[in-house]
């Protein structure tokens, strides 16, 4: 990337940027705000994590081995699936499994459709497209899954009485769970819907900004942003629906019983 159309950031420039934060840390120490420690830990973590990811990506981009790229994609999906569950307040048996299956299936489906059908990337595993698209889709699906799961379990615990009243008056498990499922889906989709609502007005999306910084024409960057938002919305809806329906099957037994005892508070 010798003749890149953007300014390459050198080490000194990085240090200068870090100075911006140093000023704040100094202020926090002087005024005893207690923010200093968190800021330092956060900044160091960010630097180390990004540097490592950069090295791995650089390596993958150079080798361009499909096996490596697919392994990287699987690893990303796995981490996202686990992280989605770790953000929830309650657990039930098999919750990690549910999350892993739905996030992988929905993210691979949507990203696959995008790289092969919409963008027609050749070869389909070209990491320049596959990895960033998958990463963004996963990040958003993760939020949808954790919010949806949380709301579903919360609803089943809080409305247990009403659910069981319906069940004992002849409701099937689906009829009794329907409202909880609806609410869980809505909750999982809220961040994505809100993001689309305000996009371009209140916030300039990070990916679009990045492309513009890298020298892309703003209108081209906008088109990419639109495609990625459609992908994100589709994938989040699919993943939230999938994980909520799997949770429903775990929390409501085939003989129409609410399995409250399966829900456990996180230690």
């Amino acid at each position: 990337m010798e003749n890149a159309s953007y300014i390459v950031i050198g080490n000194w420039q990085l240090v200068l940027a870090a100075m911006l934060l140093l000023v704040n840390i100094a202020l926090s120490v002087v005024l005893r705000l207690g923010l200093g420690r968190d800021l330092v830990v956060g900044a160091v973590r960010m630097t180390v994590q990004l540097a490592l990811v950069g090295l791995v990506l650089e390596w993958i981009f150079q080798t361009r081995q499909p096996v490596l790229i697919v392994l990287m994609a699987l690893l990303m999906a796995g981490l996202a699936g686990v992280a989605a569950v770790q953000r929830t307040k309650r657990r039930f048996p098999g919750v990690y499994w549910n999350s892993l299956v739905t996030i992988s299936a929905s993210a691979f489906l949507v990203t696959g459709a995008a790289v092969t059908g919409i963008l027609q990337v050749d070869p389909w595993y070209d990491p320049q497209y596959l990895i960033p698209l998958l990463g963004m889709v996963l990040g958003n699906a993760l939020t949808g899954i954790s919010l949806g799961l949380d709301r579903m379990m919360e609803g089943c615990v809080r409305n247990r009485n009403w659910i069981e009243t319906m069940l004992s008056h002849g409701a099937s498990r689906w009829e009794a769970a329907h409202e909880e499922i609806r609410q869980a889906l809505r909750t999982g989709m809220i961040p994505t819907v809100n993001a689309m609502m305000i996009m371009g007005i209140v916030s300039l999306p990070g990916m679009m900004t990045g492309q513009i910084l890298a020298g892309a024409a703003p209108l081209d960057a906008v088109r990419y942003q639109m495609v990625i938002m459609f992908m994100i919305a589709a994938c989040t809806a699919l993943a939230t629906l999938g994980v909520v329906v799997l949770a429903y099957r775990m929390l409501f037994s085939p003989d129409h019983r609410l399995m409250s005892s399966r829900i456990r508070e996180k230690r």
């Binding site: 409305n159 009485n161 004992s168 002849g170 099937s172 003989d255």
Partner: protein, 216 residues
């Protein structure tokens, strides 16, 4: 009509209701008696399949519980919990919602029947347009019983159905149940209450639950 044989459930390693067998026959009025913690509520929940059991048989109309379509079964064998819940809309919406379930699809909300029930409970018709959130505990119990009866059950399992009612209202709920019993000779009920005089007055025989021997 309903037969229970050797029903077993373990909680924390001990069996609640040791050696429990009984049957309910058409037209019977049965008291379920036992000290607090003897598992009366758990037994009623088990009878309608809201809790799993660890052994034994429940048969209704000579068919095992496992062979019934459970929503269909629960339409006929109706458990009314002590603290039955409501939709956060009007009383009428809470009643009508239950008619939308597939198992109740052949039933219609019967306004004449409803008017008669309100009459027995001496509640004004405007009561149906009250928001369920603002009902008192006693009013909720009355509506819960009325709502259940509109769905035409065959067996009623009543868990302390009058625990939040004052004396005058207790009598009205009792007459509502008696009125329901008079409607069909096949019907029967099981009733739990802390008031043993109420049980003596309403029922003709008892199922006794004993506390576990190690606890006595």
């Amino acid at each position: 009509m309903l037969e229970v044989r050797d029903l077993v459930r373990f909680i924390e390693g001990r069996s609640i209701w040791p050696d429990l067998s009984f049957s309910l026959r058409p037209g019977e009025r049965v008291a379920l008696r036992g000290p607090s913690g003897s598992g009366k509520t758990l037994l009623m929940r088990a009878l309608v399949g809201l809790d799993a059991v660890d052994g034994g048989d429940i048969r209704f109309r000579d068919r095992a519980l496992a062979d019934w379509d459970i929503p269909e079964y629960r339409r006929l064998v109706r458990y009314i919990p002590q603290d039955a819940a409501f939709l956060s809309g009007t009383v009428r919406q809470s009643i009508e919602l239950f008619f939308s379930f597939r198992a109740n699809r052949d039933l219609q909300p019967d306004n004449r029947e409803l008017a008669r029930f309100l009459d027995i409970l001496r509640l004004p018709e405007t009561f149906l347009d009250k928001t369920a959130d603002f009902l008192s505990g006693g009013e909720k119990q009355m509506v819960a019983v009325m709502r259940s009866l509109l769905l035409k059950p065959e067996i009623l399992l009543l868990d302390e159905p009058t625990s939040n009612l004052d004396e005058a209202m207790v009598g009205r709920v009792e007459s509502l149940i008696e009125d329901w019993m008079d409607g069909d000779r096949q019907r029967c009920f099981v009733w739990t209450s802390h008031d043993s005089r109420q049980l003596d007055r309403l029922t003709e025989r008892s199922i006794e639950l004993r506390p576990h021997p190690t606890e006595v």
